[in-house]
């Protein structure tokens, strides 16, 4: 079962310096991604899912830095790579889609110019070629009247259409990996359904791998091949999407699944919330970071931090409940 991974993140640690001292937003995150695969990073606010993505892309804010770990993309470590070389990877081999397309599109340039820019830079196309290809890309992502839209400015488009433009832009250099950070969170549910379907179709058609970041387990169920559940800066469980929903191992994962309302479950059932709230990064609990909200916490959970360890083939959990005794030989 060993395909050479496209991306292998190992022990990634990202720190921000703030007024209140250094904050470790991502603390020892590891996962890998096979070519063509979609991995969902799911977690609540402050879980470190977005910072993980920005770290991979080398797009951290000025007060942030990677203090440990490696990000191997096709065997090359992106951590510590000079900016110039990183820029060659970014936008070409790896592309990113953000939550709010209006803030990531330049309001004064036409859609066509913005699409063309990366293709001229990375693919060496002429202006005319790039424009032609921009129109093709807009058609591919389902934008009606692509020939006209190519000359429009972003503000003329609706939120859903802007996100399609972002997807077109991400696809423009035929990347091997697309990182999408909450790409449908700002959209209405009927538009979200359109965009999710489009992304699934495009990823199947082009064989592009995806890291899809979301807080919504419904979106995970729609999109993921595999899932890494994050909590307070760490991956607490990683497995394939079916195992995650059928047989979650980490108490946080199962509690999260029990706490969300389904539209297919019968009326009258009561939700089981998780008590307490997500910990503050400045005051991280000792031991397991979930222990003070966990119904199955034991004494050692308060003091000893568990590691992310395999409980089955392709299934890892960061929890003392699955200490060595349960690891299959």
């Amino acid at each position: 079962m060993s395909v050479t991974p496209l991306l292998q993140v190992d022990g990634l640690r990202t720190e921000f310096s703030t007024d209140q001292g250094p904050v470790t937003s991502v603390d020892g995150v590891s996962f890998s991604l096979a070519p063509g695969e979609t991995l969902c990073l799911v977690g609540e606010s402050g879980s470190g899912k977005s910072v993980s993505a920005l770290s991979i892309m080398g797009l951290l804010a000025r007060n942030g830095r990677i203090t440990a770990g490696s990000v191997l993309f096709e065997g090359q470590d992106l951590v510590g790579l000079p900016d110039r070389e990183l820029r060659r990877v970014r936008g070409h081999a790896i592309a990113m889609i953000f939550q709010e397309p209006m803030t990531s599109l330049n309001p004064v340039l036409t859609i066509g110019d913005q699409l063309a820019e990366t293709m001229i830079l990375h693919l060496g196309l002429t202006k005319a070629q790039a424009r032609q290809r921009a129109i093709e890309l807009l058609e591919k992502v389902g934008i009606p009247r692509a020939k006209d839209v190519v000359d429009d400015h972003p503000h003329r488009l609706s939120g859903g259409m802007r996100q399609r433009v972002m997807i077109a832009m991400a696809l423009s250099c035929e990347p091997k990996l697309i990182i999408a950070d909450e790409p449908t969170t700002a959209l209405d549910v009927t538009i979200q359904a359109q965009i999710l379907r489009l992304m699934r179709e495009l990823s199947a058609e082009t064989g592009t791998a995806m890291i899809f970041i979301t807080h919504d387990l419904g979106v995970v169920a729609e999109m993921a091949d595999r899932v890494a559940v994050m909590y307070a800066g760490q991956v607490v469980e990683e497995t394939d999407v079916y195992t995650l929903f059928d047989d979650p191992k980490h108490p946080y994962t199962s509690a999260l699944l029990r706490s969300i309302p389904h539209i297919t479950t019968p009326a009258g059932d009561r939700l089981n919330p998780i008590s307490g709230s997500v910990p503050n990064l400045l005051h991280m609990p000792t031991g397991c970071r979930f222990h003070d909200r966990c119904l199955q916490a034991m004494d050692r959970c308060a003091t000893e931090p568990p590691e992310l360890l395999p409980v089955a083939s392709q299934h890892s959990v960061r929890c003392w409940l699955y200490d060595e005794t349960e690891v299959p030989a």
């Binding site: 209405d188 549910v189 919504d216 169920a221």
Partner: protein, 323 residues
């Protein structure tokens, strides 16, 4: 059947679109356009729809944070749509609102204790000590420790702040609370806490809720009956069970199909995903407002707006179409 506590009839709220130096009115945004529904005592009426459907404006009109352009909002026998400010003030104690964003709806410079005591002092003429005693009691009712009385809103987490928002709405012992997206800004693990709290409080105080949300999961969990809105109009209204088991309006069906259900085995289910965007409420389509996106549109849909009859505003309701 008991009389409704709230009767909304032909409610309209138009916003003028002004242009030019003399701000001439060149058109109207029809945020709410001819909406009618009833809310019965002790029930939760859910209003669901996408952005721009007018659900929040409807909610704000119910508590008279918006003056309607036309129509009536009859609360407990009184039409509050045209009520004077002084008379409305008396009714304010009975009609309260919980907002989406507990960050911006709580004054950051005022301690929680003052925030909660303030309405009692203003409306019920309680002295400070008595009001603070009630505030402490109410904090415990919503599941927060008394010591939070001395905290400022920013010291609390989002979920805790929303509990304070709920406590504040409860201080005057209201009968009807409009909850406008009360869990949408909260983390997934916290949403269930707040939904359960709202349910418990409803049982304890006999509250009536109008619960506004774009989240179908939350709407289903908390509502007894549901109103589905689109572009300022009611598309369908029915009991929660009926809406989810047998939607009659094509839009309701499409909304349910679009919901990403947390079950990977349902990802390839048969469903309709509509193309296109929601049209602008400043320039809504003629005829049925949904006809530009409806998969079953026929000629009549383009010209005639279907009235709300038997709980559905559609020329060809799904049941009758034999689907």
């Amino acid at each position: 059947m008991t009389d409704p506590l709230l009767q909304v009839r032909n409610l309209k709220r138009y916003y003028p679109i002004r242009k030019g130096v003399i701000a001439r009115t060149v058109g109207h945004v029809r945020a709410v356009d001819d909406v009618s529904f009833d809310v019965y005592p002790g029930e939760t009426l859910g209003i669901v729809g996408e952005s721009g459907c007018g659900k929040s404006t409807t909610g704000r009109a119910v508590v008279r944070l918006e003056a309607p352009t036309a129509g009536s909002v009859v609360y407990d026998g009184t039409d509050i749509a045209g009520l004077s400010t002084a008379k409305m003030r008396r009714l304010r104690t009975e009609l309260q609102m919980v907002f989406q964003d507990p960050y911006s709806s709580l004054n950051p410079q005022i301690r929680i204790g003052e925030l909660l005591a303030e309405p009692l002092i203003a409306h019920k003429r309680l002295d400070r000590t008595a009001a603070h005693a009630k505030a402490a009691e109410m904090l415990e009712t919503v599941g927060l420790p008394k010591l939070y009385l001395n905290r400022y809103p920013h010291e609390l987490s989002g979920g805790q702040r929303q509990r304070v928002g709920i406590a504040r709405a409860l201080m005057l012992e209201p009968k009807l609370i409009v909850c406008d997206e009360p869990v949408s800004a909260l983390d997934v693990s916290i949403q269930a806490q707040v939904l359960n709290l709202l349910k418990d409080l409803q049982g304890e105080f006999g509250l009536t809720y109008v619960f506004i949300s774009h989240g179908l999961g939350a709407i289903k969990y908390i509502s007894d009956r549901i109103v589905v809105m689109y572009l300022g109009k009611v598309m369908e209204t029915a009991t929660t069970a009926e809406i989810f088991a047998q939607p009659k309006h094509p839009y309701t069906e499409i909304l349910l199909d679009a919901y990403p259900e947390p079950d990977p085995r349902l990802r390839d289910r048969q469903r309709i995903i509509v193309e296109g965007d929601v049209p602008s409420p400043a320039n809504p389509p003629k005829g049925c407002v949904f006809h530009t996106r409806c998969p079953y549109t026929k000629d009549i849909c383009r010209t005639e707006s279907p009235p709300l009859a038997d709980g559905v505003a559609c020329h060809f309701p799904l049941e009758a179409a034999g689907r």
